[in-house]
């Protein structure tokens, strides 16, 4: 709130265009971050993101951007306003994906090479804990109340539920091959875990650890092996979920009540990660093999635009 006021003031002083949100895209191959205006969808800046930037997220106040610079073995931090780099955070080796506690601190990072989840205090920039998990930890999700962090391990094929106070695993749920992403619904009542090689999304009751349903995908003319679910997002009202299907070049629209697929939207090539605009009017997809993002209108489920970004876009986050 205060930030917005300051921003407006800055606008008045410098005569720059009206304040809009920003979309940040990490370009894995290009080693940079593309910044787009969230209303015009124009590229307004590009800045270096370190070696092999993948996972990307922002602080709840929208001030700081966190980027997993995988080949640098650290998390880079940038100002979302000036893009100026801040002191880096330790991450453990080869960080790929992470999730920020809803309060903005700490950051939970999956370290693929070491079978651990590293917990980092973003203010003191120290490692609070290393939690041993299954083989090849990847996906990270946090419950809306911040009490549970879920990590998925790609070769162990589990979702590990980690207590954020004790850093102990309290529950393991076996899912299909190569679980890539974990996403809670905003009411915390459901956890979705995508399995890239298994080709399913498990709908899990976090309280019981039971898999209530497995969402499967089928697109005429697309090889079943190419239907590889990766990124998952759910609308705030829980009415719809979106699942990125990797080399199938489609995003599945899933009914949040029945967990049945209602539509497939054609996007760019090898679609991996997804992010909503802060007002949830739009969904942005990173299309790694076509070097662009697709913009989906959430109300109509139509792909309204694609915008060229850097080389091999991987992750995306939008800030107000």
């Amino acid at each position: 709130m205060i930030m917005r006021a300051t921003g407006l003031l800055a606008c008045l002083c410098t005569g720059s265009p009206a304040l809009a949100g920003k979309i940040f895209v990490s370009n894995e191959k290009g080693n940079d971050i593309t910044v787009l205006d969230s209303e015009s969808f124009e590229v307004i800046a590009t800045f270096p993101g370190g070696q092999r930037p993948r996972g990307i997220t922002a602080s709840p106040d929208g001030k700081w951007l966190y980027v997993c610079a995988s080949d640098d073995n650290l998390v880079r931090v940038f100002s979302t306003d000036t893009y100026e780099e801040q002191p880096t955070l330790p991450s453990g080796p080869d960080p790929e994906l992470f999730v920020l506690h809803p309060s903005g601190n700490p950051l939970y990072i999956a370290n693929e090479d070491d079978n651990i989840v590293t917990v980092v205090d973003v203010e003191t920039r120290t490692v609070l804990a290393e939690v041993p998990v299954g083989v090849e930890p990847e996906g990270m999700g946090v419950s809306p109340d911040g009490r549970i962090v879920v990590n998925t391990s790609e070769t162990t094929n589990m979702a590990h539920f980690i207590d954020t106070e004790t850093f102990e695993i309290v529950q393991n749920v076996l899912v299909d091959q190569r679980p890539r992403f974990a996403q809670f619904t905003d009411d915390g009542a459901t956890l979705l875990v995508s399995s890239e090689i298994g080709g399913t999304v498990s709908v899990i009751d976090p309280a019981s650890g039971q898999i209530e349903k497995k969402i499967t995908f089928e697109v005429p003319g697309v090889l079943p092996e190419a239907l590889q679910p990766v990124g998952v997002r759910v609308t705030a009202d829980g009415s719809k979920a979106y699942v990125a299907l990797g080399p199938a070049n489609r995003v599945a629209v899933v009914d949040g009540a029945t967990w049945e697929v209602t539509d497939y939207l054609l996007v760019g090539q090898r679609v991996w990660q997804l992010a909503f605009s802060p007002d949830q009017k739009y969904l942005f997809t990173t299309n790694g093999n076509s070097n662009d993002i697709s913009i989906i209108d959430v109300a109509s489920d139509e792909v309204i635009r694609s915008v060229q970004v850097g080389e091999q876009p991987w992750g995306v986050v939008a800030v107000e």
Binding site: V135, I197, G198, G199, P247
Partner: protein, 393 residues
């Protein structure tokens, strides 16, 4: 560091303390073959060949097992051709029912028979098509790809390149001839023409000699001259005698594929796609060397057992075998799609990498080759053509 890790694991396991510990024991039996070393010293077999893959597989299984109340132990045994069957009997007598073998075709068959019906054997080295065909055994599964699979994989790529006139050069050893037969089959299957065939006789002698290159440089061009017009030279040299000398030395300026040049492989240490980098990192940390095909093929066998044990919560061979051969089994192997077993011949379906030197440049099946069941069945012997007669229970 090690102590710290142990402490963390102990803390982690506590919530699961109620789980009873079940031990799953396996063995890896490697039959070392005497014979001439490979042409390049870079290809000399490391002492822990295959065993390093077993250690990684056991470690991966154990990491998963700690959440399931399962522990994994793997015995490593070496033998010669003469002692192999006896070693297998010792392994079985010690109570192990899941054995991975690294042996040639003939020895693998003898080992499967020596193991008996109560033991499941995973062949992680022998490529022979007969092992999957007329000589198939109900207790024998294959994580090593067959010759038919690797030759089909290369043939698909060559046809995609529209290099359909082949100059086939085969070695004089039985394994080379079998590989050449597989290339002939692949050519027929995918519509290539073998316009010229020659055999490179292995006349014995040392692997390499000082100033030996002088003769090679004179010999290879003359050996390949006056061949019918061809697009590509395909080398069938499983023994590793001559193919490595072909690139840049052929009479005509033609690319070389097969046993040199662009080679079809189950695994390559430069493979990074589909999470492959994580396998390489874990393997290199453990073994202090790059991974080889044998290591990957043993790892696949260990992980197939681990995956079945995780899903079935069992350590019983029959339960694990039935699950592995059933419809629900899927194995992640860093190849972009689930790997499964062919129920007609016990072969693990898998994409084949095409590597040229230090880099993986393509993966077969090529996307243009479709199949009514699984695109992976465009590689190797498909159900209607199998010579395997066993009835699996």
């Amino acid at each position: 560091m090690r102590f710290l890790h142990a402490a963390l694991v102990a803390a982690l396991v506590m919530p699961c303390a109620a789980l009873a510990q079940v031990e799953i024991r396996m063995a890896v039996l490697r039959v070392d073959e005497p014979g001439r070393p490979p042409a390049s010293r870079l290809d000399l077999p490391p002492e822990d060949l295959g065993f390093a893959g077993a250690r990684l597989g056991t470690s991966d299984n154990a990491t998963t097992g700690q959440f399931m109340g399962q522990s994994f132990v793997t015995d490593e045994v070496t033998a010669t051709h003469e002692t192999a069957a006896g070693k297998m009997q010792e392994i079985v007598a010690s109570g192990v029912r899941l054995v991975v073998t690294l042996a040639d075709e003939e020895t693998t068959l003898a080992l499967a028979d020596a193991a008996g019906d109560e033991v499941l054997v995973f062949n992680a080295r022998a490529r022979g098509d007969a092992l999957r065909g007329e000589d198939c055994r109900a207790n024998l599964l294959h994580t090593a790809p067959s010759r038919a699979m690797v030759t089909d994989a290369l043939a698909q790529f060559l046809m995609w390149k529209r290099w359909d006139d082949w100059f086939l050069i085969e070695g004089s050893h039985p394994a080379d001839r079998a590989l050449a037969d597989a290339y002939r089959r692949a050519a027929t299957k995918f519509g290539a023409r073998i316009v010229e065939e020659r055999t490179f006789e292995d006349t014995g002698g040392a692997r390499a000699t000082d100033s030996g290159l002088v003769q090679i440089q004179a010999r290879m061009p003359t050996f390949t001259q006056r061949a019918a017009q061809h697009d590509v030279v395909v080398a069938a040299d499983e023994t590793g005698i001559f193919a490595a000398y072909l690139p840049y030395h052929t009479w005509e300026a033609r690319p070389v594929a097969g046993s040199a040049g662009l080679s079809p492989l189950s695994w390559h240490p430069a493979m990074e796609m589909w999470g492959g980098m994580q396998f390489q990192s874990r393997f290199e940390k453990l073994a202090q060397r790059p991974s080889r095909e044998e290591d990957y093929q043993v790892w696949l066998a260990m992980r197939a057992v681990g995956e079945a044990a995780t899903r079935t919560q069992s350590a019983e061979m029959a339960v694990l075998r039935d699950y592995m051969l059933g419809d629900e089994f899927q194995l992640g192997g860093f190849k972009g799609q689930p790997l499964t077993w062919r129920d007609w011949d016990g072969q693990l379906r898998q994409p084949i990498l095409l590597a040229s030197g230090d880099i993986v440049t393509s993966v077969s099946p090529q996307s243009e080759y479709l199949h009514q069941v699984s695109q992976l069945d465009t590689l190797g012997i498909d159900r209607p053509e199998t010579a395997c007669q066993i009835e699996r229970q």
